[in-house]
Symmetry: C2
Subunit: 412 residues, 2 copies
Amino acid sequence: MNGAPRINAGRLLESLEALGRFGALPGGGTNRLALSDADRAARDWTVDRMRALDMTVRVDAIGNVFASYAGTEQRAPVLTGSHIDTVRTGGLYDGNYGVLAGLEVVATLREAGLRTHRPIEVAFFTNEEGARFQPDMLGSLVAVGGLPLAEALATRGIDGATVGEELQRIGYAGQAPVGAPQVDSFIELHIEQGPVLHQQGVDIGVVEGVQGICWLEFTLEGCSNHAGTTPMALRRDAGLVAARITAFAHELALRYGGRQLATVGAVELRPNLVNVIAQRAVMTVDLRNTDGAALARAEAEMLGFATRCAAEHGVVLGHRRLARFDPVAFDPALVELVAQEAQELGLSTLRLPSGAGHDAQMLARVCPSAMIFVPSVDGLSHNPGEHTEAHHLVQGAQVLLQVITRLANRAG
Amino acid sequence: MNGAPRINAGRLLESLEALGRFGALPGGGTNRLALSDADRAARDWTVDRMRALDMTVRVDAIGNVFASYAGTEQRAPVLTGSHIDTVRTGGLYDGNYGVLAGLEVVATLREAGLRTHRPIEVAFFTNEEGARFQPDMLGSLVAVGGLPLAEALATRGIDGATVGEELQRIGYAGQAPVGAPQVDSFIELHIEQGPVLHQQGVDIGVVEGVQGICWLEFTLEGCSNHAGTTPMALRRDAGLVAARITAFAHELALRYGGRQLATVGAVELRPNLVNVIAQRAVMTVDLRNTDGAALARAEAEMLGFATRCAAEHGVVLGHRRLARFDPVAFDPALVELVAQEAQELGLSTLRLPSGAGHDAQMLARVCPSAMIFVPSVDGLSHNPGEHTEAHHLVQGAQVLLQVITRLANRAG
């Protein structure tokens, strides 16, 4: 594909800056919760940009927006895209980059007077972040038939409003049906949101799949007592059990090795006073692995340890799963295509899993799918300081262009 | 002392109920922060009760109140008492019991027409709890010359008012001097506030001293990163270090054995989210031991472990001492007298240290001092559910009467 047109670096970078102005935070970054006024403004701006490229825009019943750049044949399109909602303290690249790079691909082809056999569609999906409505990846989940539309529309956000009400309010309750998309393949370009590519000095991450996730919440009920008058043997210390579970989670991840991750990010003690034994602790454990069987073992081990440890300390354990997703493996041929196109451009590549969830894992249910990662400086994301070097942004978009073109022109 | 008069159980119990009405909480218990309006009302009521017993009342410059029941000789008095301030969610017994039992002793002797050789004084000390003004045991500390009066009066409380202003406001800025009390001996009756006597079914705790205390605060600065994208080896997890310090503190207490206690009661993580590695953790460690040398070793070990553990995880450790008191040993002869008098009454006894701080540890600086404990049901204290069985309250007061009478009548 040495003859492929080159994307316009300046236009791509300017578009990222421009989209970042919607919901901009004073010190940098953006706050653009799904279906908020800022999201509406960003959607309107993005749709205008789509129409300016002579793309045909349709909005589906969950507010996902698809813009089609016609091919020379009437066939199922090659789809790309991501999301433009952000967390409350988001950056400029998470999601936005994949959508705008998709539009930049179309703009580049259009300027060069090129059309592929299949249509190219660029989409942005509703509420990927899950920062306002649960679950995350809501729009793509509904699009592929993974969640009934009515249930999704009735979902109430952190501010009490429902998805359906907010879609109506901002004018994105569309007519296009959901549940059975006709798509040839899906390719999503995204920042890594982790430190691996940056640390290893690699240009392009070839994403083989998405880790499985298990979120557990443990509620530990002990007994609040005076730290100075209660002998060690008579204590029922919920905080100590929480600490031991935390240490165990870390040891488990090291013992499993490979792609096993374990994080205790949230712990709340009550009454949380220096001289009072904690009566109650609520904590979360975030387990991830690309290996579904290992993840299931890790979950069972965590629960087993927590049960034994709580009992040993006379503490009552409650637990619930806050989330559970099996690992997703992307299409091997498509993954290989990403690696080839990057290498043909002389870029270094690393195969890795995605640690975060992405719309691509939903699309993978209905069509061959894959992702392209570019490096995140220091792995920072969900943070106004989120940054990717300009040359990496440009390289990633060029790889996307070549992968899309190859997919949309291939025979069969 | 078989001929000693018996205290009036009904009168004692009624007085506890009556005093509990000042600052009463809706569901039980009291909120009577030092020098508050509720404390003023409780002080006025207690002083009235003292005067009704023909006791001579004096108020010192830090608001401690002393009521004297004259002896047959002009000699240094035997002092008893405690405090009537409470924490925000206090019970009816902590402090109050020692003051009212002292007055019940005087009432009983007076009804029997008995006077001891030495005067008997019953005191309540200002701001023992430390729930409004720091440090705790403020009144007794100033009384024995451990803190300059001016500094104590300038102490600002959690609501911004100073001790001096509040003493003036409630009318308890007294004239009696502080700093060099003339006292023969001090005996304080108190609820245990721990589970030991209740668990072991013992009537009377013979308190041999007060544990030394060391409060450490650790501030751990790591790096906030995505739980799904940050490999275990690249993490700087402040929450994990906090958990490992917590587990180490517990292991240390078990390894030291004896009277070593270790408690991590307070931990705060930031940002405290399920899928974000904690950037910051602030935690406390409460160490106590009756053995001062062991306590110093425990403190050094904790600091050493925290330093190593933080470094191992790339986390920056800050630390400060929030409090440090050496252990206090009570007067052996007085401790023995408490045991003897309880045993002569046919009561079971157990020698134990006090885990909490008490005014007696301040008085121990200037005169032979000791304490008598009665059982706390389930060890509950600083809690509206704080409870001591009526027969234990009566037994404790009877032991107090006999100890005081013995002390106040002894030769020399």
